[in-house]
């Protein structure tokens, strides 16, 4: 509870104090919720059992619909990601004239924490929507060009998705005896095949739009490109993960009966998305657009890994969620720095920046390598596990998914080459150390996770085991 209330209060404070207080203060303040979370982890000892502990539970809409928050390894990791990235995102703000940005981001933090902790169907939906609102306004207010057109498309698209999810949730709710939205109650509902397909489709559509999986991605590129850097970070770094989290926590256990039906479809689409995104990224000129498509390609792999329903795939996917959050935020942060200090983010206008700031070049390179999943960077373990799971699911699919390690190298190195190396047309203004610190933190994580991913795996595996158990209970399709 506290980690939802805290950012909320902060955001209100920020809204009222306006831009009088330096962004750094807010950034540090929003770190506090991280400690709250750590405390909670200790308090509920989540890593020894996979149980989703209730941390807060009061009746809300009616007796059936409670305000329930829970925490376990998975949730813990997601919250860790959120509360780790949000401060960095706040610190990444370059200008001071975007004064409602910080309140919105803090509000977003609260909502996201809610999404990951919600243990009641309706609450999950409500937080899901709440998370949509601030990001919508961030994009609407501070987008570079045709803000309204892009954002309305994004909003309606995701809104339709979440309404579909709501329909599924309501259906399950009505199926429960003593009508209730409680997670476990919803789990216990037994659906027949056709029902489960409808319910599953509802969930899946919502998540597929959010993730996004291949044909549902058309909102993504423009939104990422036009949105302010912070918006892009929030969207790709954390909000994406809502979709994947939902896939794992809500879709699979709830509509497990339908997995057998959806599994091949989703994996196929995801793999198509992997190659599709990578291929498009190869020729992009706008850095943000490039990252957008690369992220489409990466999350496709995660989704595919989840749908293989193998322990390796799911745990690797969760690991990769965390990793991708770090990498993509770091990338957007770098783009932001380049844009503000070199005056452009078009590859055609950039080049030769390396000679101006060696440290920056090195960090940038490490992040690029991390994204390209070079061993001993954080990208590798997750990708290895995911590819393995997909490969075990189906060899051909695995090979196609494997193409990502080639294509990703192609576009990532191209990106680095044309922005940093060469004789260079652009020049890079001096970057303050203060701006480097967040990047340093992220890079440290890139290396650390790359060397010992097992630490994270240990955190999540019990709860993943439990979720897999729930999936297999709802239907014995688990491989």
């Amino acid at each position: 509870m506290e980690i939802i209330i805290l950012p909320l209060i902060l955001s209100l404070l920020a809204a009222f104090t306006g831009s009088k207080i330096n962004k750094t203060v807010w950034g540090l303040l929003s770190f506090v919720s991280l400690f709250a979370m750590v405390y909670m982890k200790q308090h509920y000892g989540i890593h020894n059992d996979g149980v989703w502990h209730n941390t807060y539970d009061v009746p809300w809409f009616s007796n059936g619909i409670h305000f329930t928050l829970g925490i376990d390894g998975l949730t813990g990791l997601m919250i860790l990601l959120t509360n780790l990235l949000v401060p960095i995102i706040i610190l990444s703000i370059q200008t001071n004239n975007q004064k409602s940005l910080i309140p919105l981001i803090l509000f977003m933090q609260a909502a996201l924490n809610g999404v990951f902790m919600a243990k009641d169907g309706l609450m999950f939906y409500i937080f899901w929507e709440l998370a949509l609102i601030p990001i919508y306004f961030i994009c609407l207010l501070y987008s570079s060009k045709d803000a309204f057109k892009t954002t309305i498309k994004f909003f309606i698209y995701t809104f339709i998705g979440s309404l579909a999810m709501l329909a599924s949730l309501i259906y399950l709710y009505l199926k429960t005896e003593n009508h209730s939205f409680a997670y476990d109650e919803l789990l216990s509902v037994q659906l027949n095949y056709s029902e489960s397909i409808w319910v599953g489709a509802g969930f899946l559509f919502a998540f597929a739009v959010k993730i996004p999986i291949f044909p549902f991605h058309s909102w993504q590129a423009n939104t990422y490109t036009n949105a302010p850097a912070q918006g892009s970070m929030l969207l790709s770094g954390i909000m994406l993960k809502m979709g994947l989290y939902g896939l794992l926590r809500w879709f699979m256990p709830m509509a497990g009966e339908s997995i057998a039906f959806f599994q091949p479809i989703v994996i196929l689409l995801a793999v198509i998305g992997i190659i599709y995104g990578a291929v498009i990224a190869i020729k992009q000129n706008d850095l943000k657009r490039l990252i957008a498509f690369s992220s489409l390609s990466h999350v496709g792999l995660i989704a595919a890994g989840f749908m293989t329903l193998s322990a390796v795939g799911i745990q690797g996917g969760v690991l990769q969620m965390f990793v991708h959050g770090i990498n993509v935020v770091a990338l957007f942060y770098i783009v932001e720095i380049i844009e503000t200090h070199a005056g452009s983010r078009e590859l055609s206008k950039l080049g030769g920046l390396a000679k101006f700031n060696r440290l920056f070049a090195a960090l940038y390179l490490i992040v690029v390598l991390g994204t390209a999943a070079v061993p001993l960077t954080n990208g590798f373990p997750g990708e290895l596990l995911l590819l393995k799971s997909v490969f075990d699911y189906n060899t051909i699919t695995g090979v196609f998914a494997g193409l990502t390690i080639i294509l990703c190298a192609v576009y990532m190195l191209r990106m680095y080459q044309f922005s940093m190396l060469g004789e260079g047309k652009a020049s890079l203004k001096e970057i303050g150390l203060m701006k480097m610190i967040p990047l340093l933190i992220l890079v440290a994580l890139v290396i650390f996770i790359g060397v010992c991913p097992q630490l994270i795996i240990d955190q999540i595996s019990p709860s993943i085991q439990k979720i897999m158990l729930e999936i297999s209970n709802s239907k014995g399709v688990l491989s």
Binding site: S62, I126, E129, I133, L140, F148, I156, F159, I160, L163
Partner: protein, 460 residues
């Protein structure tokens, strides 16, 4: 009962006291009276006070306010009070507008409480006739005239149809008292045994009511009349008429519960059509008022879904939805009235609002979210309750309703474009002006009710 009396007396007072005083003077009085009525009936419905003696004085089989009805009465009283309080008054002498508005509110009360077709009919007429006048109350404005005559002709026409329906039902069932009718019908039991008269009668009567709530095939008056009439009157129409109409509709359909399986399928069709039509037609609208008109049609569609659910137990859902609808609609009409100018009454009126008046922006955003049904506003809560209860009857219809509310984003959020995109030179000077406390109150209410939705269930 107390509500009707107070409002009626108040109306007469306002009419005569303010006969040749400027409207401003009577404004406070009338809104106070309405507020009092609202409070009293609220207390009565919470059975803190009771006015048994008064109620006994009225013939029981004619008009009878259940606790639920009283909630609606107080809601409408409050809303009308707010409308009168926040909308500007006209300069010319004579407070007849306020008086008429209060009179037609009494009509609404009668509709809500009616337990007898005569009373229902009277209620509708007492609601409508002052409204015909009010619609044209801007005498020298042709558009207002046109609105008046259109509303009048179609209203009278639909009344005639309604009455024919009453006659048939009377012939078929041999009674005019709703409770009596429902009793007799429940005895007859089997569908096929009902005389065709009753079915025809129900259809005709429903037509009359569907006209009042502006449901799909009978909605034609709404956009035009809304646009033509003065903003205050439009607001009153959009809120009071619709809510009263639906309560009456619900009450009278309950009498024919034996026919439920028959009429609910027609209602579902109507509801779906209305939702689709209202939402889609609203997309292409240029003026704010017409957009709101069509959105109110769409909302009529959602509310029609309520009529197919087991109504007696769920009246509180109708109430929740009414609250949500009333709060946001009034606020939006208020801003429309405040910022519209002679030449600009499209969405352009909001251009640069964020820059000039942030609090107004926030209020509008919240109301828009509420009317679009986005958490955690009361709009979402009400929609949630409504859809969940309707889902059991017809999932498909609810699915379409959800789709409709997704489409509705397309026109509700139109306002954001001018609001947030920094305005060009000609900024609307009205933006600078302050916003009344009442508006803040209403918006706050729509958040509070959204966060603590169980209030509704508790009250009933």
């Amino acid at each position: 009962m107390i509500g009707i009396l107070i409002v009626f007396i108040g109306a007469v007072l306002v009419l005569f006291l303010g006969l040749n005083k400027p409207e401003g003077g009577m404004k406070t009085l009338s809104s106070l009276v309405l507020f009092l009525a609202g409070v009293l009936s609220l207390l009565e419905s919470l059975s803190i006070l009771n006015f048994e003696r008064l109620s006994n004085w009225a013939p029981k089989n004619m008009i009878d306010f259940s606790k639920g009805d009283l909630m609606f009465v107080s809601l409408l009283a409050f809303v009308t009070a707010a409308i009168i309080a926040i909308f500007p008054t006209v300069e010319e002498k004579g407070s007849d507008r306020l008086g008429l508005m209060m009179l037609s509110l009494t009509g609404a009360f009668m509709m809500i409480g009616a337990d007898h077709l005569v009373m229902l009919f009277l209620g509708i007429e007492v609601l409508s006739i002052p409204l015909y006048v009010l619609a044209g109350s801007d005498k020298h404005n042709l558009r207002s005239n046109e609105a008046a005559i259109k509303y009048f002709l179609m209203g009278a026409f639909s009344t005639a149809i309604f009455l024919l329906g009453c006659a048939f039902i009377y012939g078929g069932s041999g009674s005019l008292s709703l409770s009596e009718i429902s009793l007799r019908m429940s005895i007859v039991g089997h569908l096929s045994e009902f005389p065709a008269l009753i079915k025809v009668g129900v259809i005709l009567m429903s037509t009359g009511l569907l006209f009042k709530v502006s449901a799909f095939p009978f909605h034609f008056w709404a956009p035009d009349v809304y646009e033509g009439s003065p903003n205050k009157v439009t607001t009153f129409m959009a809120v009071v008429v619709k809510i009263a109409g639906f309560v009456a509709f619900a009450n009278y359909l309950q009498a024919f519960e034996a026919l439920a399986s028959w009429y609910s399928k027609w209602l579902i069709i109507l509801a779906v059509c209305t939702i689709i039509f209202g939402n889609i037609a609203a997309i292409s609208q240029k003026t704010v008022k017409r957009t709101l008109a069509y959105s109110s049609i769409a909302h009529a569609g959602y509310l029609l879904l309520f009529l197919i659910t087991p109504m007696k137990a769920n009246m509180w859902i109708l109430f929740a939805y009414s609250v949500a609808y009333a709060l946001s609609t009034v606020v939006l009409f208020y801003f429309n009235d405040k910022y519209s100018t002679k030449k600009e009454y499209g969405f352009g009126m909001f251009s640069g609002l964020l820059k000039n008046n942030q609090s107004a922006t926030i209020l509008m955003v919240i109301s828009l979210f509420s009317i679009a049904g986005i958490p955690v506003t009361v709009g979402f809560t009400a929609k949630y309750y409504l859809f969940t209860s309707a889902f059991e009857v017809s999932p498909l219809a609810v699915g379409i309703a959800l789709l409709g509310s997704a489409i509705s984003i397309m026109y509700y959020f139109k306002a954001f474009k001018p609001m947030f995109e920094s305005a060009e030179s000609n900024t609307n000077e009205a933006h600078a002006s302050k916003i009344l406390f009442v508006v803040y109150l209403m918006v706050a209410a729509s958040i509070v009710f959204g966060m603590f939705p169980y209030l509704f269930e508790r009250c009933f």
